[in-house]
Amino acid sequence: MSGLAVPLIARTLQTTGDILLRAELDFLLRDRSGNWQPLTFRVDSGTEMTSIPADVAKLLDLPFPQQPMSGLTHGPTGQQVRAGVIRAQVVGMDGTEYIFPCYFLGDPDAPPDPNRALTLSVSLLGLTGVVDKIRITLDGTPTPGTPNGNLVVEKL
């Protein structure tokens, strides 16, 4: 299969009653041993570069540079940045292995912080080096099977 429709995920804010939508996509990432490790990404068209928290990358044994980039930090958080790539398959598609550029954010050896903000925890799928390989469409047309619509992913 060269295309995939993934239902958008909704949550209801108790405070306002608003229904908030998000798009997530499950990937398999190749680790240092050549095995595939699962990781869910938030699809974010406002993000320039795909990113993974460096401690999560370490946990999954993904290959990434040892040294952070000198002179480059992640603007919203001030975290250090390691610039690398991920080798990735989209779960549910045809098994194509993509190579996406990826920034690994933060200190991979930092102790776990259970109160870490969501913005520092979520792996984001950005545009650079991705949208020239897969087409990503957000389609909010409701159906009985997908009442909030779909994230549609197609191989280019």
């Binding site: 499950d26 009985p144 009442p147």
Partner: protein
């Protein structure tokens, strides 16, 4: 940049603090929210959710109820969502002991 709206009225933020493992029990709050959502869809979209869509919503909202903002390793089943490990310190050892075949059935995500 991912948005983060913290719902202080949501159960997790009210400090119940339950962190069950295994097949998660569906909280009454989630059952009520699903019923409310079904009513909204019928009223506004003239849509009746399929059983699969309903179960998917139950799984997502139950995971969010207990683990909003936390890393979990989990599996979706038609009986519900099964949590295998919580937090990076638990997930690491779990992944290392699983075979490649088993890893393909697991999601590592933020609840």
């Amino acid at each position: 940049m991912v948005s983060e709206f913290i719902d202080l009225m949501a159960p997790r933020w009210n400090g119940k603090g339950e962190r069950p493992r295994g097949l998660l029990p569906v909280p009454p709050e989630v059952e009520a929210a699903i019923e409310k959502e079904e009513a909204r869809l019928a009223r506004e979209q003239n849509i009746v959710m399929t059983p699969e869509a309903r179960q998917r919503a139950i799984n997502a909202w139950t995971l969010e109820y207990y683990y909003d903002g936390h890393y979990v390793a989990c599996r979706d089943t038609m009986q519900g969502v099964e949590v295998l490990a919580v937090g990076l310190e638990e997930i690491g050892p779990l992944l290392r002991e699983k075979s490649q075949e088993e890893l393909l059935t697991i999601r590592v995500t933020v609840g």
